[in-house]
Symmetry: C2
Subunit: 336 residues, 2 copies
């Protein structure tokens, strides 16, 4: 509860009180009326920590709706928590706002952030607001809980493990190209529904929160795919001291993505290396496949086997249906 329902402090205090205090329903937030927040993990649990800020003009477009910005800011962090097998426990948000940020923008942003906090049971615990001469930036730091010592690492993949991914791969990377009206792609061949699907997958990630329990129970290694399947799987393999054989034809794609690939088969490279999937890639011992599939099904997240872990130190081999390995010009997305 707010300690101070009618703040007389600075404009920053009033902004926080007006837009964000209504979201701070968790007792550890102290109604955003203290200097810090509290997270009280239950005995035997570790706190998983993640911060992944999003910057206007880098991670989202200036004209993106404030609701989409709020959702992306929180969800890119929830995606990491899910991949680590963690249940969301709360978040901090640090906002850097240009002077011209309008009240309606903030109202819509805070509303969507609060709705997502409720949806993912991840309460706003605290934060900070600054005025910036630069681009609008939303820095969420999210906290999750895992049983002590059980965070799902990148480094546990074993030779013989199966490689699985959640959902569908490549939609967001195509959605970004569509957004930029990349002239080389066959956008006009797509239905409006397909275009809408790709655009939305770029705009608002769907963190696979429902998969966290199954990953915790069964995965030997996992990470979320934010910089492209090929590059992120390579990171997982390097951390585990192994490599992988991937069957490109098995990589799950959406109907919209399939329509694009029918017209332009070469865009499979964009699908496999583009960013912003926010799906999960994980590895499992064969013996645990059944239990994992059952748990994933019960949380309504599709999972697809795409290959297996093998001995080696090279980057994973992505094999085309004819058995030939693909060579990527740029296996991983990077802002640098």
């Amino acid at each position: 509860m707010p300690d101070d329902p009618t703040p007389r402090g600075s404009e920053e205090d009033r902004l926080i009180a007006r837009h964000f205090r209504p979201l701070a329903k968790d007792p550890g937030a102290f109604g955003l009326a203290d200097d810090a927040a509290i997270l009280a993990p239950p005995p035997g649990f570790d706190v998983v920590l993640k911060t992944d800020p999003i910057i206007c003009g880098v991670h989202f477009f200036p004209e993106d709706p404030p609701e989409a910005v709020a959702r992306k800011a929180l969800r890119v962090n929830l995606s990491d928590l899910a991949a680590k097998g963690a249940v969301p426990a709360g978040f901090l948000v640090a906002l850097a706002l240009p002077k011209e940020t309008a009240e309606p923008w903030l109202i819509a942003f805070a509303g969507a952030l609060g709705a997502d906090a409720d949806r993912y049971q991840c309460p706003l615990l605290g934060g900070d607001t600054d005025q910036t001469p630069g681009p609008l930036t939303v820095a969420v730091t999210a906290f999750g809980l895992v049983p002590h010592g059980r965070m799902v690492r990148r480094s546990g993949a074993k030779v013989g493990d199966r490689v699985l991914v959640s959902g569908t791969i490549g939609d967001a990377a195509l959605g970004l190209r569509l957004r930029r009206q990349d002239a080389t792609a066959p956008w006009s061949a797509l239905s409006a529904a397909d275009r809408g699907h790709l655009a939305k997958r770029y705009l608002v990630p769907e963190p696979r929160t429902g998969l966290a329990g199954a990953l915790l129970a069964d995965a030997t290694a996992a990470m979320d795919i934010s910089d492209g399947l090929a590059g992120d799987l390579a990171k997982l393999c390097r951390a585990s001291g192994v490599t992988a054989e991937i069957d490109v034809a098995s990589v799950p794609v959406s109907p919209a993505c399939r329509s694009v690939l029918r017209a332009r088969p070469d865009l499979i490279d964009v699908v496999l290396t583009g960013g912003d999937d926010y799906e999960i890639v994980c590895t499992l011992a064969e013996v645990d496949l059944g239990a994992f599939r059952a748990a994933a099904a019960s949380s309504a997240v599709a999972v697809t086997e795409i290959g297996r872990i093998v001995v080696g130190t090279a980057d994973p081999n992505f094999r085309d249906p004819d058995g030939r390995p693909r060579r990527f010009q740029r296996p991983s997305f990077s802002h640098f």
Copy 2:
């Protein structure tokens, strides 16, 4: 230990590996080679959460040394943890770097950040690096530990409590004016040592980490002074449903500050309302004063009684030696 001593990933991965992995010595950091970090609080402890980013051109000057930027970025957060009675447990750092950020800048920044992490026993646990079209921004999220339910709040001050502050007040606000060569102030009347003192107090805060235990044991309320003593004490009083009588002559000032005030007594308003002190204001029952003073002395942090808590809802009364209340034009610093 790094899982991946020779990363082949993106430029971001290489930047992290080169400059920040050597700092990530805590096991919860996983050598910065996973997607998230772990904090494992001991049983019976709450995690205190704080994020306070600093932005170039807002919180520091473009020409500030990278070492000073690193120290300020971490210390403004450690200051809050100390005020809440929390022992530092670790931090995340999210960097937004302009394209032109040079390698030597990063080397110096990371070196100073690592030295401060060691000094305050607050290990780097994780973070994120982005390239930004905007100003360089360093967003630290810091974690502290307090016994369950014991975080020192803003809201516990009781009528009759004494009001104390740590260190000296106003140095940083004068240091900022000096930095800006504010023509109205008598800088030429100051010795080089006095000018150096004020400038340094603005450039690099000294978080009162040593006072955390004493605050936890004895304070009824506390907060760090980042937006000016008058405004921050007003916030503490409002959160507690009380007000305060403050004796302006008791407010501790440094010899450098005293030199300024001798030439320009009116600058007392800047001293009492300027930002960036990063001292602590707290309230104590009279009976606990002795124990608190002894504990503060043993941690070598000066504490000074400046007034007492009284019944009321108005802003605290700052009384001049002649008994007249001061009126501040702008009681609290705000970036908005």
